[in-house]
Symmetry: C2
Subunit: 241 residues, 2 copies
Amino acid sequence: MKLDVVLRAEDVSPENLKGKTAVAIDAFRATTTVITALEKGCRAVIPVLSVEEAEKKREELSALGDEVLIAGERKGLKIPGFDLGNSPREFKEVFLKNKIIILTTSNGTRAIHGSEGAERILIGAFINCRAVAEVLASKGEDVVFVCAGRLGEFSLEDFLAAGAVTHYLKKRAERSLEISDLLIAAEKLFQCTKEDLPGFLGTGKHGKYLREIGFPQDIDHCCALNTSDIVPEYINGVVKI
Amino acid sequence: MKLDVVLRAEDVSPENLKGKTAVAIDAFRATTTVITALEKGCRAVIPVLSVEEAEKKREELSALGDEVLIAGERKGLKIPGFDLGNSPREFKEVFLKNKIIILTTSNGTRAIHGSEGAERILIGAFINCRAVAEVLASKGEDVVFVCAGRLGEFSLEDFLAAGAVTHYLKKRAERSLEISDLLIAAEKLFQCTKEDLPGFLGTGKHGKYLREIGFPQDIDHCCALNTSDIVPEYINGVVKI
C-alpha cells in the first residue's frame, strides 16, 4: 500500500490519482467544516468553486423543494449575503438536520475538485484522522493526500494532518506501507507536535491570520484530534457520509 | 530577514533568488563531499553537469599546469574512468592539497548551478550547518535554501539540513526572522530528530539506497553535525573557501 502527499491542490494531476484513494485536506478550515456540518445532520455538502455557482445551485435546489444554505468565505470572512461563513463553530450552532449546504472556500473546495480522477475521494482533517486511517486500511488501495495549500502556497496544517492520518495507519501496522519521503517527514512532525497542535500551528501563517481576523477558537476546534468518527466521501459532486 | 526553502533544484527560478543568499544543499552527498574536499586542502571544486564537461575541463586545466582530479557519480556509483566517486570518505583518504576537483553528480551539482542568480551562493550540509548559520546571520540578507532533491523528487535529508541551518539561526536570535511555513516544518523536524539523524534518515529512500549500494558509513559521515567550520562559496563557476 503506497502513500504519498501532494502539497497544493494546484500540483495534483489525474495521472497521480488513477486507481487510488484521494484524501482531500483543508484542515483550516473547509474540510473540518464539512465534517462538522455532516456530524450535525445535514444531508449533503456541495463544494463549488465560485460565489455565482453557489447562488445558482441554491436557486436550482430550492426550486426542487430542498432546504438549502449557502456558506463560504473569501479571505477568511463570510461572503456577503451568504447564510454561513467557513467557521466550523458556526455550523455547530445552527439547525442543519436534512439541510443541504453549498460551500465555496478559497482553498478547500479546490482540493476536493482537484481530487477528481481518483477511485475514491475522502474528506480528511485532524478531527477525523483516525477514522480516515481506518477506512484507508480497510480498503487497502494506494493513497494520495491532497493538501489544499493556501493561496497557492504550502500549508503547514494540511501537511501535518496528512501526517496525522499516516500516523494512525502506521499504528495499525496490518499492512506493509510504502510511505513517500515527504509523508515520512509529515508523520514524524505530527508525532513531535501532537501534544500541542494549536501551539505549533499557531506559529504558521494561516494560524496567525485566523487569530488576526478574529477566529482564534477555530484553531482549537480544527486541531482537536479524533472528535469525529465520520469519514465523508465526495461522489458525483456531492459530499455525504 | 526572510527565510524560505525550495524542495527541488528544478523548482528554483532566478526571480526567487534575486538579491538573496542561496544555500545549495545536497546532504547525501555532493555538498558534504565538496566541504570535505575543501577541508582537506584542495584549491577549488568545479561543479559541472555532465561527464563530457568534466573530461573536457580536466584537459583544459591540466594543459594550464594545474593538478586536477575528476570525481562524481551516476546512480550513486563512481563514474568509470574517474579518479574519485562522490563518497566524502574517499576524499578524506587521498592527498588533495592544492589540487582542483571537477565534480559531476546526479543532483547536487544541479542545485549549485540552479542557484545562479542569487546574490551569493553558499554550500551547506549537516557537517557545516552551524557555520552556515553564522555567515547568514552576519550578512543579514534574505535566504533561500535550494535543496537538490533526488532525481526530481523531494529529498528528506536536504529538507532536514535546511531545517538544521534554520535551527542554529533561530538560536542566535539576533535578528527577527520571517520563516516560511515549509521551513518551520523543516526546523521543527530537525529539532525532533537531531539526536539520531542517521536513524531517521535511514528510513528515507536515499538512506536506504546508500545502504543497498554499499555506502552505509557515508550516512554517518553526512549526518555528523558541525564537524566542519568552513562555508564554501560558489563564485564564477568555482567553489572555494
